[in-house]
Amino acid sequence: MEQQSLFVRALKHPDSREEAFSSLVSEYKERLYWHVRKIVIDHDDANDVVQNTFVKIHLNIESFKENSSLYTWMYRIATNESLNFIKTKASKIGLKNQEWIESLAEGLIADSYFDGEEADLILQKQVAKLPEKQRIVFNMRYFDKMNYESISEILETSVGALKSSYHHAVKKIKIQLSNEI
């Protein structure tokens, strides 16, 4: 924690900011990219969102109060950015968020940046059918193997609610998968 404080101080100080920010990008770019990619699905969209996320982090680092870990704070920004992105993009085309995500998952088969097998494709399509929050919780818990406490901090939701969300998501996917086969 003390190490983080020193690092945050370096990020906040004008003289050391650029160097500290560069190492922050180097450290977290991949993790944040994959987190965002699983939410927005498309690579180009994920690229836009992850860049906006880091720009926001850079702009708002002075307002970071250290009530949570830097990592949690960044994940929260990335999650919000992803959800806002989906909202904007879907409304531009006149679709609901969920419809937009489902259409992206349907198109994964033709996506040059997706080379999963049929089972991957089926699972992704089923995950896309989940309500937004359940989908994020499922991604974080199932694919990223994050513990409930971390997810709870990032999404600012109680552990109990998250467990219930994940349980419902798994149950739905289970039913949908059994219907698919």
Partner: protein
């Protein structure tokens, strides 16, 4: 339950739990090996792009600060000059009567006043009440 009632086919006990486990295990392995792909060298390019963007923002921020400081300084300078000119000027401004009249005439043409408006500006004394007119000329045969 409804589906079960109308479904003549049966599966071994606990089949769907095993199936789920098998499927999830399979997809987990595949997805951990990353079914989603990214372009070659993308992450390095991403880092460069982010640094470039944030540097641009920092420079813009600094320029804005400099601009607002310059603007404030200019404002102060203008205020001082105005203050000095207004309160330290010793020669009072004298306006000649003729100048005022000329201004009036000028504004008459500029503002395009009509006769009634001009009339309303005049005092009652200025208006002649006895109209002088020439009688009709007489034509001789």
């Amino acid at each position: 339950m409804k589906y079960k009632n109308h479904n003549p086919f049966m599966v071994p006990k606990g089949y769907f739990n095993i199936l789920e486990e098998k499927l999830l295990k399979k997809t987990k392995i595949n997805l951990n090996a990353n079914a989603y792909k990214i372009p070659k060298n993308y992450l390095n390019e991403l880092e460069k792009e982010i640094i470039k963007k944030t540097l641009k923002i920092s420079n813009r921020k600094n320029n804005t600060k400099l601009k607002s400081s310059l603007l404030a300084l200019t404002g102060i300078a203008v205020s001082i000059t105005l203050f000095y000119n207004i309160f330290t000027s010793k020669d009072p401004i004298i306006i000649e009567k003729e100048e005022v009249f000329e201004d009036f005439v000028e504004s008459y043409y500029m503002e395009d006043l009509n006769t009634y408006e001009i009339l309303s500006m005049l005092d009652e004394n200025d208006i002649e009440t006895n109209l002088k007119y020439s009688p009709k000329p007489k034509y001789e045969n």
